[in-house]
Symmetry: C2
Subunit: 599 residues, 2 copies
Amino acid sequence: MAVYATATRSPQLLLVLSTLGLLAIGAPQPPNIVLLLMDDMGWGDLGVYGEPSRETPNLDRMAIEGMLFPNFYSANPLCSPSRAALLTGRLPIRNGFYTSNAHARNGMPPLTRHPAAYTPQEIMGGIPNSELLLPELLKKAGYTNKIVGKWHLGHRPQFHPLKHGFDEWFGSPNCHFGPYDNKVKPNIPVYRDWEMVGRFYEEFPINLKTGEANLTQIYLQEALDFIRTQHARQSPFFLYWAIDATHAPVYASRPFLGTSHRGRYGDAVREIDDSVGKILSLLQNLGISKNTFVFFTSDNGAALISAPKEGKFCFLSSGPSMQKVLQSMHSAVIDPGGSNGPFLCGKQTTFEGGMREPAIAWWPGHIAAGQVGGLAPVRMSRSRAGSVEECPCQSGTLLHGCLKGVLHLFQVSHQLGSIMDLFTTSLSLAGLNPPSDRVIDGLNLLPTMLQGHVMDRPIFYYRGNTLMAVTLGQYKAHFWTWTNSWEEFRQGIDFCPGQNISGVTTHTQEEHTELPLIFHLGRDPGERFPLSFASDEYQDALSRITPVVQQHQMSLVPGQPQLNVCNQAVMNWAPPGCEKLGKCLTPPESVPEKCSWPH
Amino acid sequence: MAVYATATRSPQLLLVLSTLGLLAIGAPQPPNIVLLLMDDMGWGDLGVYGEPSRETPNLDRMAIEGMLFPNFYSANPLCSPSRAALLTGRLPIRNGFYTSNAHARNGMPPLTRHPAAYTPQEIMGGIPNSELLLPELLKKAGYTNKIVGKWHLGHRPQFHPLKHGFDEWFGSPNCHFGPYDNKVKPNIPVYRDWEMVGRFYEEFPINLKTGEANLTQIYLQEALDFIRTQHARQSPFFLYWAIDATHAPVYASRPFLGTSHRGRYGDAVREIDDSVGKILSLLQNLGISKNTFVFFTSDNGAALISAPKEGKFCFLSSGPSMQKVLQSMHSAVIDPGGSNGPFLCGKQTTFEGGMREPAIAWWPGHIAAGQVGGLAPVRMSRSRAGSVEECPCQSGTLLHGCLKGVLHLFQVSHQLGSIMDLFTTSLSLAGLNPPSDRVIDGLNLLPTMLQGHVMDRPIFYYRGNTLMAVTLGQYKAHFWTWTNSWEEFRQGIDFCPGQNISGVTTHTQEEHTELPLIFHLGRDPGERFPLSFASDEYQDALSRITPVVQQHQMSLVPGQPQLNVCNQAVMNWAPPGCEKLGKCLTPPESVPEKCSWPH
């Protein structure tokens, strides 16, 4: 397929500097990098992505001042692998964030099956030392790196973020979802740098009844303080703001509780929107917005049910039947969670709802803002004479490539983007090249953001070590379809509540490797109408997809799987610093066992 | 419920003038009115409503320069009743655009059941003389009125639009969907004013194979010419631009064909977007944009399948099974149609996807544009001290009412709006009062648009003479649920392809009048999770909804049903003007019969 250009503005100077690697050596200071990574926030949760309540004025404004990516993907429908992919620029199958214990398993067991043994706290694995993380590399260009929020790349000592390139950390190694204020097993610790400073539900309260927690405000303050400090030090900085407020149990601070049209989930979104606004405002007030690249995205699709209010079921997407189950079990009320807009299913699945993410790039003075001046009708190079010859695009390409000169309200890039691109793009911003001794899946998006280039590239959708699907251009081919097992589904665990597409949202693992289901995502973003196998369009799409997949699979060297072995002894019983706080717990005997990942 | 104010700007001068009715008498000329009514376009079809391909820069810009209504409704999930409601300001149950032949019938039969007798061309009824239409009333304030496009309020002589207040007409009385280039029965005539000037598929070709038709360009030219002429005459004008390009069979003119990421449906949307841009630009170029109120909306939700390419099934929404049926019948390829975003089902249904519409108001200098200046974080009156007392809103109302001072990118009104409000609002713009001798359902939205007022009002969802559902505030109560019959559904006619919510998307008519299903549309816009009957929230919502419905039903006087009697003899065999063109056909014997409306 041809590389074609989209409707954007002229190249920017800095691109040249950056791609030549000039910034790092004696040249002007490289730009600061701020990656805002949400947790379980869906594509459809922002006003600018159509959320009907329209409660994200700051993110909407960020989009109009920057660039919107409607086709931006996570590297996995689950948080840990997605985050590992972001920080390594590599697919989870390469960096080890997958399981090979069973076929096509995400590596996230349901509470209903393992009520006492569900937690990632038990996981033995984590980010291998052999992986090169973005902050490690940025250090070489003089960056000071901070992670605020959820690490999730392993909680045992060797996996500590300060051993992998970060200079500072405020946050937790695991998800705040559990155990909930457990009196027997360890609550998740919160770290400042090397040592824990407390635990969720203890020193850092989350009120499961009211949904009140001050965590987003604390994370915001950490971000603002870090930015101010690094600005004063005149050090280029990398801030990885990986907050977890829209992951169940969903929380917000008191001023935001009850303020949304959307219930508690909306309260959390509004607090995040407000926080993003404050971060961007600080950059502007400090006069460093033009020297700070900011990117907003999420780790995976929205979990379509976020949590019962007295939540113990944080990671479950659930249908009405699950609602009944939970209500009878806990008298809890289910609050629907986030929105994946028009896309199919959500978190845990390799349908679009599981992996397509909200994505906004912001870099004033470099990424051109949308054109908000007077109204400008579309000028089409083909519209006057109705002649194809007038079109500067290659024959057969979309006219989209001919829309140069159109004043779009939003700068929109139809580039297929990946969370892994943030790795490569950040390196490019720092004037660094990605490591050459390994496969890097992330692309440098600067040519897209600054020059409007659109590069052909596949998006791979994995569950565990199984390639479930691939998207190339507008076509998505499913080689396997599966939501979860009938057994789970009948218990009420439903990753596609209200959605049911015969032969697509299957509850048995259906193989289509010989004859993949192919969808045209432009015409059919909801993956409802597979192309007819007999159509020319199907054959053409397949003939383009097949060699890309073959090439990928033939050259693939899977990493050592990190999500295979669990052990209760490795939980956060006694993290460093627990002595000072009197919060050490005694670990049980070490019994490594194969983790069970039922979906 | 309390009336609460939204986040908007200060009142505008003209509101005062207008509501006092000063404009009509000796005062400055009242504003021109342009209503842009789409046909089967869905809530999710615009970039500004989140459509992933983002191909509507002009409509997006219209939204940022005007006001966006995310909660705007049609008066019916089908075109004729919806249009009758717009022009009368009254529910179809009052103005007669319903059937009482069977329970809860929309009045639109499927081709599969009546292959030779499906068409609205057979309908005996139309807009009663007793109804007062918007253009009739506007004439009293000196307006010149033109309808461009689809009339659909009856095609027999007494229903002609020029007998109901319009001064000019270019367009057709029925839908272009059929019969398709029929050699035996009449193709739909196209009128200029009193006389037909040709027929679809004959003088006005629509190429069903390629999708090419020049109709939108013709309609655009009609609009531009009318605006220029009335401007030169210094006459206030009302333009009702009721084009039909996204109704199946979907068409676009050659320069737009093949230009969209979304297939032919997207081509049509892009041509419409371009046309709207040209209309707004003309208003600006003529210097009359500040004296022209423009409103963009659609007649009902998107039909979730728009048409087979060799379309004979234009009004069907269809699932994969229908796809198989059609493919086997016609070797046709199904193109998915429009998008209803995150909402449930589509056209024909009383779920949100059937009746929630895209809606944008534009009136530069009066409706304040969104704030596109520098980034401004949300200032919350409750956020500093965390104290509710600081909030100027009434206790218990959403903080939304406290967001005064926030710079929103979009001016968004959460007013529950109705297509019938365009009647009352237009009268207010003209300095006229609505008729006082009948019930008018439309509200005057000027206080909403100019002062940010939000008024409490119910939205009623009817099928035929059956009240299926009502929305009040954030709560929607379903008294009846039904998509269509099992018989139809098993034939592949599916108004909710890919969506299946047990007990909600029912294929038998399920009565819930005693205990309605209630959804919170803010938390659950997709109508997936009915509130628990036992919850306080349910009881509270029901106690507010019940008296509103009782009051509505007790005072309701249904109009004479217009969609009950069909007759092949009344089809467009020999419209006025056919003699000159040699296009008269001989009608069959008159045999009135009860219309059969199976869904």
